[in-house]
Symmetry: C2
Subunit: 150 residues, 2 copies
Amino acid sequence: MNPGTQPPARLHATPSWLLTQTAAHAARLVTEGLGAVAARGYHYRLLAALHDDGPASQADLGRRSGIDRSDVVAALNELAARDLVRRAPDPDDRRRNVITLTPAGRRQLHRMEQALDHVQATLLAPLSSPERAELTRLLTVLLDHHQQPR
Amino acid sequence: MNPGTQPPARLHATPSWLLTQTAAHAARLVTEGLGAVAARGYHYRLLAALHDDGPASQADLGRRSGIDRSDVVAALNELAARDLVRRAPDPDDRRRNVITLTPAGRRQLHRMEQALDHVQATLLAPLSSPERAELTRLLTVLLDHHQQPR
DNA sequence: GAGCCAACGTTGGTTACGCCAACGTATCAG
DNA sequence: CTGATACGTTGGCGTAACCAACGTTGGCTC
């Protein structure tokens, strides 16, 4: 986002504009926060998915975290190079790799979560506690609605 | 976003995750909607800024719409090539170009707004009217807070 | 008036994210 | 056995956001 010396035109009060703009801001903060621990969004999503639901194939990981198969490959290469995950062929299905979170990966995930907590605080600073809850609820409704039908 | 056959891990109930994910969805719908009228986000923002606040230099346009100077150049090239804006040297300041919305540009802006209205309806389908208003309010608070200080 | 700094338009990168097409290998259903 | 499907992988595309650098032009100060 640019330094805005002029106020943005007020006709932009449409939710999709607000959403994408606010999101751009959020994404910037998230990128910044994760960058501080040498990570990016995909890394967090993958490690979190592994932590939450345990080891998985790459395709499963992609489905869990909403990342395209091809992007999973690249991100896992980076994570594996730093020993944050282990990639082993699945003996039961030789098409698959089994991806496992390493202790180092667990530690890194923890660091990411701390960074994201801080981002959270910064992002939601102007909202009261009930407002934060309401925002979370509304966004959850939207997300669920738009990804259930798949 | 990927077709999600598995439910996303539930630990992802953090606002920044929700925001960026919902936003990714919104952005996808916006891109789709604008694509149907052969446009993209930057085009809409620029034409809307021109319509709202009148002719301006490229730098001013960038500040109004939150787009980097260099990206303004490229987007205006595309808009000018389709006669949606006019780009003329400013006689009063020969560093500047004065960008003006053409009648065709006004018509195109109208088409974009229709497309975005439709996107809005799709995106906010699961929310009641007061919920939509509340979401808009909360996002506005966030946006204002995070871009005022600049 | 001369010199210097700031603003402007422009070019040419870079990064993240989301997505799609294609290929070879492996598995499974008929 | 054969055809369809799933998997990992490579390579590419488009959008958005941003940064550095350059030459030109304006304005300010000495």
